[in-house]
C-alpha cells in the first residue's frame, strides 16, 4: 500500500482534521443518544418509567440521533480518511462540500434534539405522513416545522456528502485513462474489473474501498431528492392545512429514502472493512472480479427495494401488492453484495496472522454481527415472514445488531486504529479498548437476541408500555443488558478523552505470562457471559411463562368476578377499551392528555354515557364496541371516582 500513499502532508493534515471533527462530534452524539436508548429500554421494562409523551419524544430523538447522528455521521467522516489512506485527497471543491456537510448535520441534529426533547415532537423518526399534523395536542406547529426542517438539513447534509465523495472518487488518483467523468464513475464503481478495456486504469486498478463509497454516493442523491421534496411539502402543510399528499404515496417516498439510508451506514463501513481487515490480516483482500457484480447489483437494487418496508400495506384499488411482491426478489438480490463481501473479508482473515488487538477484534466481531443481522434481514425481506415480524421488537433487534454491533464496531475499530495518528498521541489504553469491545459485544448481543425473541412472541415495537402481563421477565433482562452495554461505553469515552489529552496508561506488570492468550481468555469470558445470559433468559422466560398468566386487556365481555360491582367492572372497561389513551383519571392510573382530564371535569354518569355512546369531535363512538351495560358501568366508575 506504500506506493499509494501519495498525499502531501498538507492534504493528509486536512483529511485528518475533517475526519477527526466528524468522528468526535458523532461520538458526543453517541453519548447522548445512547443514554436515551438505555432510558427507553428501562422505561419499557418498568424500571424508571417515563411519561408516554416523554417516551415517544425521546424515542424520536434516540432513533435519529443514534442512527444518523452517531453511526451515519461516524462513517461519513471516516470515508474521507479512507480516501486519504488509499491516496485520494480531498480537493478544494470536495472540501467545501465536506465542511458544508458537517455543519448541516450538526444543525440538523441540534434541531432534532430541540424539537423533540424541548418541544415534545414525538412522531418517531419515520413520522409517517400525516402523523406530524395529528399530534393529539402533544406538540405544536412550531415543533413540527422545526423537526421537519431539521430532518431536511440532515437530508441536505447527506446530499452534500455525496457530492464530496463522488468528487473525491473521480479524482486523478483513480488513475482512470478516460477523461470523461461518466467513464470515471464507472471506473470508481469497479467496472474495470469486468471490462478492463472500456474502463481502463493505469497503472493500478481501482482500490476496493472506492467502490462502495461511489455506489452509496450515487444512490443517496437519487434516494434523498424525492424525500426532500416531501419534507418541503410537509413544512408547507404545517402552516397551510389545505395542502395534501396521498398518504400511501408519502409512505413510499419516505421509504424510497428510508431504505437506502441504511446503506449510507453500511457501505462506507464496508469501505473501512476493505481497508483495515487486509491490513490486520497482513495480506490483500481475498476477492475475485465477481465482487464487482455484487456492487453493480447493489447500485441499482439499493434504490428500488424500498417497498419491503410496506409489505403489509396493500389497500384495494392500489398497485401496492404487486409492487411489494416484486420487492422480494429485488431485496434478495441486494443481499448478494453482503454475502460476497463477507466471503472476501472472512477469507482474508482465514489462516492469516491476524492481529487480535482491540481494533482487529472489533472488526472481526463486527463481521460476525453483520452475518447474523444479515440473516435476520433475509427473514424481514421475505413477505411470508415479514407479515409476522413487521413492526415487532424483532425488527428492533435486527437493526440494533446491524447499526450498533456492525457499523458501530467499525467506527470503534477506526477510532482505535487512527485516533493516535489523528491526534499525534498514542492510544491511552489498549486494555480498556479490549474491555470496551468485548463488553459491548456481549451485552449488546444479548440485548438484541432478547428483542428478537420478544418480537417472535408478538411484542410490538414503539410501545411505551408493552401489553400488560407479557414480556415482563424478558424486558427486565433486556433492561439489564442495555445498562451493561451503556456501562461498557465508559472505558471507550475515557480512552478517547485520555488519548486526546496525550496521557498513557501505566503499563501493567505482567510477571507471569498467561497460559492462554489474551484473546482466548477474553473470548472465553464472553462466551461464558453469553451462555449465562441465555440461560438466565430462558429460565426467566419459563418462570414468567408459568407464573404470569396473561392478564392483558382484561376481557370486558367476560364477567370479571362473579359479584363485581358496576364500579369495579367499569374500571376494567376503562382500561380495556383504551380510555386511558386519551384521558387522565387518577383512579384508573390513566394519564392521557388527548381528551378532557376527567379528574378536573368530573362528568356526571349521564354525560359519560352520552359521550361514550355517541362520541363527539375526536372522541369515537363506542356504540357497538361496548355493550350498553358496559357503558353504564364505565360511566358509574368515572362518576364515582371523580366525585
Amino acid at each position: 500500500m506504500s506506493d499509494e500513499l501519495i498525499l502531501t502532508d498538507q492534504e493528509r493534515w486536512l483529511a485528518q482534521r475533517i475526519t477527526l471533527r466528524y468522528v468526535l462530534t458523532a461520538q458526543a452524539i453517541l453519548l447522548v443518544s445512547g443514554f436515551l436508548g438505555i432510558l427507553l429500554r428501562d422505561s419499557q421494562a418498568g424500571v424508571g418509567r417515563l411519561g408516554t409523551n416523554w417516551f415517544y419524544a425521546l424515542m424520536t430523538a434516540h432513533g435519529l440521533g443514534a442512527f444518523v447522528g452517531w453511526a451515519g455521521f461516524s462513517v461519513m467522516g471516516l470515508s474521507f480518511w479512507v480516501f486519504a489512506e488509499i491516496g485520494f485527497p480531498l480537493r478544494p471543491f470536495g472540501r467545501v462540500f465536506a465542511e458544508l456537510t458537517y455543519w448541516l448535520m450538526v444543525l440538523g441534529v441540534a434541531g432534532i434534539v430541540v424539537s423533540t426533547v424541548v418541544m415534545h415532537f414525538a412522531g418517531s423518526w419515520v413520522f409517517l405522513y400525516p402523523l406530524p399534523f395529528h399530534s393529539a395536542g402533544q406538540w405544536g406547529k412550531a415543533a413540527t416545522a422545526l423537526f421537519l426542517t431539521s430532518v431536511l438539513f440532515v437530508g441536505l447534509s447527506i446530499v452534500t456528502w455525496c457530492v464530496a465523495v463522488l468528487h473525491t472518487a473521480v479524482s486523478p488518483a483513480l488513475h482512470a485513462v478516460s477523461k470523461k467523468w461518466t467513464n470515471r464513475l464507472g471506473v470508481a464503481m469497479g467496472f474495470g474489473f469486468l471490462w478492463p478495456k472500456k474502463f481502463a486504469t493505469n497503472p493500478r486498478p481501482v482500490p476496493y474501498p472506492v467502490i462502495p463509497l461511489t455506489v452509496i454516493g450515487l444512490d443517496m442523491i437519487i434516494a434523498t431528492l424525492p424525500f426532500a421534496v416531501l419534507l418541503v411539502e410537509m413544512i408547507v402543510q404545517t402552516f397551510v392545512p389545505g395542502a395534501h399528499v396521498d398518504p400511501l404515496l408519502a409512505k413510499n417516498v419516505l421509504w424510497w429514502f428510508g431504505h437506502p439510508v441504511v446503506y449510507l451506514l453500511l457501505f462506507p463501513a464496508v469501505a473501512v472493512y476493505y481497508l483495515l481487515v487486509p491490513r490486520y490480516a497482513g495480506r490483500p483482500l481475498v476477492s475475485g472480479n465477481i465482487i464487482t457484480v455484487g456492487w453493480t447489483i447493489a447500485v441499482v437494487a439499493n434504490v428500488i427495494v424500498w417497498a419491503h418496508h410496506v409489505y403489509i400495506d396493500y389497500p384495494s384499488g392500489s398497485p401496492q401488492a404487486a409492487i411489494d411482491t416484486a420487492m422480494q426478489p429485488l431485496t434478495f438480490s441486494l443481499t448478494i453484495v453482503s454475502a460476497l463481501s463477507l466471503y472476501s473479508l472472512f477469507f482474508t482473515i482465514y489462516k492469516s496472522k491476524y492481529q487480535w488487538n482491540a481494533a482487529g477484534t472489533a472488526l472481526f466481531l463486527g463481521l460476525v454481527s453483520w452475518l447474523s443481522a444479515g440473516l435476520s434481514g433475509v427473514v424481514n425481506a421475505t413477505i411470508a415472514f415479514d407479515q409476522v415480524v413487521h413492526n415487532s421488537l424483532w425488527i428492533v433487534g435486527h437493526f440494533h445488531q446491524m447499526a450498533l454491533l456492525n457499523i458501530g464496531f467499525v467506527a470503534f475499530a477506526a477510532v482505535y486504529t487512527w485516533l493516535p495518528e489523528w491526534t499525534g498521541h498514542a492510544l491511552y489504553s489498549e486494555r480498556l479498548a479490549k474491555q470496551h469491545i468485548w463488553g459491548t459485544f456481549a451485552f449488546a448481543t444479548a440485548n438484541t437476541i432478547i428483542w428478537l425473541v420478544e418480537g417472535l412472541q408478538g411484542a410490538p415495537r414503539r410501545f411505551a408500555v408493552l401489553p400488560a402481563g407479557h414480556y415482563v421477565t424478558l424486558g427486565q433482562v433486556g433492561s439489564a443488558m442495555a445498562i451493561g452495554t451503556g456501562l461498557f461505553q465508559l472505558p471507550f469515552f475515557w480512552n478517547v478523552l485520555q488519548t486526546i489529552r496525550g496521557k498513557t496508561e501505566k503499563a501493567r506488570d505482567r510477571t507471569s505470562p498467561r497460559e492462554w492468550s489474551d484473546v482466548t481468555a477474553e473470548a472465553a469470558l464472553v462466551l461464558v457471559v453469553l451462555v449465562l445470559v441465555g440461560a438466565a433468559g430462558v429460565t426467566g422466560w419459563l418462570i414468567g411463562h408459568y407464573t404470569d398468566r396473561p392478564t392483558s386487556h382484561p376481557a370486558a365481555s367476560t364477567p370479571a368476578e362473579p359479584a363485581a360491582s358496576p364500579v369495579a367492572v367499569g374500571k376494567q372497561v376503562f382500561s380495556s377499551a383504551g380510555c386511558s389513551g386519551c384521558h387522565t383519571l387518577a383512579a384508573a392510573g390513566a394519564t392521557g392528555t388527548v381528551g378532557p382530564n376527567l379528574d378536573q371535569k368530573k362528568p356526571p354518569a349521564s354525560l359519560v354515557v352520552e359521550r361514550v355512546t355517541n362520541g363527539k369531535g375526536a372522541m369515537p363512538s363506542f356504540k357497538g364496541r361496548l355493550t350498553p351495560a358496559q357503558i353504564q358501568d364505565v360511566a358509574q366508575f368515572v362518576a364515582a371516582s371523580t366525585k
Binding site: 409523551n53 415517544y56 414525538a122 400525516p130 402523523l131 395529528h134 398518504p247 400511501l248 409512505k251 495480506r283 490483500p284 481475498v286 476477492s287 475475485g288 403489509i312 400495506d313 396493500y314 389497500p315 384495494s316 384499488g317 411489494d324 411482491t325 426478489p329 460476497l340 466471503y343 482465514y350 489462516k351 496472522k353 491476524y354 452475518l371 447474523s372 440473516l375 413477505i383 411470508a384 407479515q387 409476522v388 415487532s392 428478537l452 417472535l456 408478538g458 410490538p460 414503539r462 411505551a464 408500555v465 401489553p467 407479557h470 484473546v519 376481557a555 365481555s557 377499551a577 383504551g578 386511558s580 389513551g581 392521557g592 392528555t593 388527548v594 375526536a618 369515537p620 363506542f622 364496541r625
Partner: protein
C-alpha cells in the same frame, strides 16, 4: 408463538445462529494455529462458486415463500362476513357483531386520521395476523377463526402518544 414464528425461530434462531457460530469459530481459530499457508488466489476464484451457491439458496427461498404472501387476503369481501373496522387515534371501533368459528370474516379497515396497524391476537395472546390501515384507503383482510374466545386487537403502527393504549377486542363463538 404462531406457526410462522416457530419456523423463523427454528430457521434463524437455531440453524442460522449455528452457521454464524461455526463460521466465526473456524475463522477465528484458524488464525491461532501455526499453519498460515493458504492459497488466496484460489479462494478469490472460488468466490464465483460462492456467488452461485448464494443465488441458488436465495432462489430456493424465494420460490419456497413467495406463494405464501398474504395479498390474497386483501382482495375484498368475497362472500365472507363483512366487519367494518374504523381505526382512529387511539381506538379501533369494531361493531358488535357475532363472529363464528369456521366462518370466513372479511375485515374492512379504514382510518380516520393517520396510519394504524391492525394486529389480532388469539385468546391465548398468540399473534395471528397484522395489516396496515392507511388513511384515505380501504384495506381488506380475510380470516377464518378456528377457536372461540375473546380476541384482542393491538395497534402495530406508531400513531402518536396514545399508540400503546390503542387496542380493542371482539368475541368469536362456536
Amino acid at each position: 408463538m404462531g406457526r410462522i414464528a416457530i419456523i423463523i425461530a427454528v430457521g434463524y434462531g437455531v440453524l442460522g445462529l449455528l452457521v454464524v457460530a461455526l463460521i466465526a469459530g473456524v475463522v477465528w481459530s484458524s488464525t491461532l494455529g501455526r499453519n498460515h499457508q493458504v492459497d488466496t488466489r484460489k479462494l478469490s476464484e472460488r468466490e464465483k462458486t460462492w456467488f452461485g451457491i448464494v443465488v441458488f439458496v436465495l432462489v430456493g427461498l424465494l420460490f419456497g415463500t413467495i406463494f405464501f404472501t398474504p395479498y390474497g387476503r386483501g382482495a375484498g369481501p368475497d362472500g365472507a362476513q363483512v366487519v367494518p373496522v374504523t381505526a382512529q387515534q387511539f381506538a379501533f371501533v369494531v361493531p358488535q357483531t357475532t363472529l363464528h368459528v369456521g366462518k370466513p370474516v372479511a375485515f374492512k379497515l379504514t382510518s380516520k386520521d393517520v396510519s394504524h396497524g391492525f394486529a389480532v391476537f388469539d385468546p391465548q395472546h398468540t399473534f395471528l395476523f397484522q395489516v396496515q390501515v392507511t388513511p384515505g384507503k380501504t384495506q381488506w383482510y380475510r380470516w377464518t377463526f378456528s377457536k372461540p374466545g375473546t380476541y384482542t386487537i393491538e395497534c402495530f403502527e406508531y400513531c402518536g402518544v396514545g399508540h400503546d393504549q390503542m387496542g380493542g377486542q371482539f368475541t368469536v363463538v362456536r
